[in-house]
């Protein structure tokens, strides 16, 4: 025992050469990866301060002429790119709120109630997780077309409000909540829904918050479906507009300065929220994935 402890303390006190080398190497690698991670963002921000013309002359360096011109163009493009930003925010927010609420309610039932068909139904829902939404697009498109909902905001929100993944995550968490809390409320005479709202939701807030982040980001990022169904500028979210921004006259040359300005505006809010709520973001990724 003492021998091994001595060995341990010995190996810790003498700074071995290889120890230092590995430390330096490790830091180099990590710093390198760190730079690679943020480099594209830096490009994006720096280029947003160049004019569209300059982007064709000087894409790589610092702006020869720092200008807010590209940001100004945002108000002219499509009559105001900020409309597209707002569309994206509305779509993502409403989707998140509704999805979290629907999932929480259903998860509550699956987690805390016993009823006929519970396990079978849940298994069935999980099975549908295998069906990627892309497969459904033809059917969805025609259905929504019949309702005359092409080129609306709701067509971009509705397909996102019943995420089985959310149901799964939230149920997992709720299972772990001790039943005593709920029973205590019921004994006090609270109704089912009241118990849900006043007890379950607050207690589940960690997972709800975590999933809300995932849901928001997922809808914010959405591209495949919106690009198909939102062809009018007024309802397009920013992610659909950015790749299509071309010179208004010639029609096939991308306006890089304006694109970068739009991209920066689309990224900045989320980036700021991320920096403030880092841990929540990263733990939301982990919730449900590692927990077993």
């Amino acid at each position: 025992m003492t021998a091994s402890i001595r060995k341990l303390s010995e190996s810790n006190s003498k700074p071995r050469w290889s120890n230092i080398v590995s430390k330096v190497l490790t830091y180099l690698v990590l710093i390198g990866v760190g730079i690679l991670s943020i480099y594209p963002m830096i490009i994006m921000v720096i280029n947003s301060f160049k004019s569209d013309q300059e982007m064709y002359v000087n894409p790589a360096g610092l702006p020869i002429r720092w200008t807010l011109e590209s940001y100004g163009k945002i108000f002219q493009y499509h009559n105001g790119l900020w409309i597209n930003l707002i569309n994206a925010i509305i779509i993502s927010l409403i989707s998140t709120v509704v999805a979290v609420f629907l999932c929480a309610m259903a998860a509550y039932a699956f987690a805390k109630y016993r009823f006929w068909g519970r396990n079978a139904l849940f298994a069935l829902l999980l099975a549908t997780f295998m069906i990627p939404p892309e497969i459904i697009i033809p059917g969805q498109y025609i259905l929504f077309a019949r309702l005359h909902w092409i080129n609306t905001l709701q067509i971009q929100i509705l397909p996102t409000i019943t995420p089985v993944l959310g149901l799964f995550f939230i149920r997992q968490y709720m299972i772990g909540i001790p039943n005593e809390i709920l029973e205590a409320a019921r004994v006090d005479g609270a109704g089912h829904f009241e118990t849900f709202i006043k007890i379950m939701l607050p207690v589940s807030s960690p997972v709800l918050g975590a999933y809300a982040i995932l849901q928001f980001l997922s809808v914010w990022n959405a591209y495949t479906w919106p690009v198909l169904v939102a062809t009018k500028a007024a309802v397009q979210p920013i992610m659909v507009v950015l790749p299509q921004m071309v010179d208004p006259i010639v029609g096939f040359l991308p306006v890089w300065g304006t694109i970068m300005a739009g991209a920066t505006l689309a990224t900045l809010p989320i980036l700021i929220v991320f920096i403030v709520f880092q841990d929540k973001f990263m733990s939301s990724v982990v919730v449900g994935a590692v927990k077993e």
Binding site: P138, P243, F252, M260
Partner: protein, 309 residues
């Protein structure tokens, strides 16, 4: 659910018996009520269209007007179409080409950051995760600006005119680079959490016995994380089957689709819809589903095996 019957209820008399019975029946409806909003929307917005898509896949239909029954004709056409198989191959290529290096690097980074060598964990962690915050489309656009032929940043720095995005053999690797760049942070964080969840006593035991870092890695850490790694790889595969934004925004011109040589399978679905061939689009989608089901089944079996160990 335990039905908590209020102690103050009057148990005597038929009236209260009926009341009780009513309550119990009423209560058993409650879970269904909680589930119904989700379920109704789910059926209407997801399963309904899914079955409708399946139904459509047996017809030739332009989205309006007459439809013609073709039975399995669409499926046969899809399976006969070389473009379908090219795109499947592309998609599988993207999966392996990005997942393998990405998992290895993410795992390696997680090990490094987790190790005692490193302080500033709280700086590196968000730094490495940051690309996940950037929207897919934004990332693809920045990469497009970076890899442009005449006006790209990289070519300016190198002083060359390498057609990164116009030569399809190069373009596919740029797509892989984008996928790795963006996905790294996600798996890094997951692996890190997995590593920190390994019982510290196990790690200590390995350290004290004079085992070198590499040996510890190979014989202790990796085996413990094995199931997570395999799981991650297959989950990533299922997600990659849905690939659409990255290749098209990166390589396609101003909102158009990327060329077939680098296109993923979803492109065929979208193309068919844009040509008003809804039956074909549906058949393509469901053919893709069979592929995904196969991968999922494989993952399920893998998981079972790991569980059994």
């Amino acid at each position: 659910m335990t039905v908590t019957i209020s102690m103050s209820a009057d148990k005597t008399g038929i009236k209260s018996q009926n009341k009780l019975r009513k309550k119990m029946r009423g209560d058993s409806l409650v879970p269904y009520l909680f589930i119904s909003p989700f379920l109704i929307f789910f059926l209407g917005l997801f399963l309904g269209p899914a079955f409708y898509s399946l139904y459509l896949s047996f017809f030739r239909y332009a989205g309006y007007g007459a439809s013609t029954w073709v039975g399995l004709g669409n499926y046969l056409a899809v399976l006969e179409y070389p473009v379908f198989w090219t795109e499947i191959w592309n998609t599988v290529f993207y999966w392996f080409a990005h997942a393998v290096p990405m998992m290895v690097v993410a795992f390696g980074l997680a090990v490094l950051v987790n190790s005692k060598l490193v302080r500033f964990k709280n700086i590196f962690k968000p730094l490495i995760f940051m690309p996940q915050i950037i929207a897919t489309v934004v990332a693809a656009l920045v990469f497009q600006n970076f890899f442009g032929t005449q006006y790209g940043i990289l070519n300016r720095i190198l002083g060359t005119e390498i057609p990164w995005l116009t030569d399809m053999n190069l373009a596919r690797w740029v797509i892989v680079a984008l996928l790795i760049w963006r996905g790294l942070g996600y798996w890094f964080v997951i692996f890190l959490a997995g590593l920190t969840s390994i019982n510290p006593e196990v790690m200590e035991a390995a350290t004290i016995d004079g085992v070198s870092v590499w040996q510890r890695l190979a014989y202790v850490t990796i085996p413990l994380m094995r199931s997570s790694l395999l799981f991650a790889f297959v989950v990533d595969g299922i997600v990659t089957m849905r690939l659409f934004a990255e290749p098209n925004v990166l390589v396609g011109k101003a909102g158009a689709l990327a060329s077939v040589e680098v296109a993923p399978v979803v492109n065929l679905v979208i193309e068919n819809i844009r040509s008003a061939r809804f039956g074909m689009a549906a058949a393509t989608g469901w053919s893709l589903f069979i592929l995904i089901a196969a991968i999922s089944w494989f993952q399920f079996r893998l998981f079972q095996q790991e569980e059994d160990k």
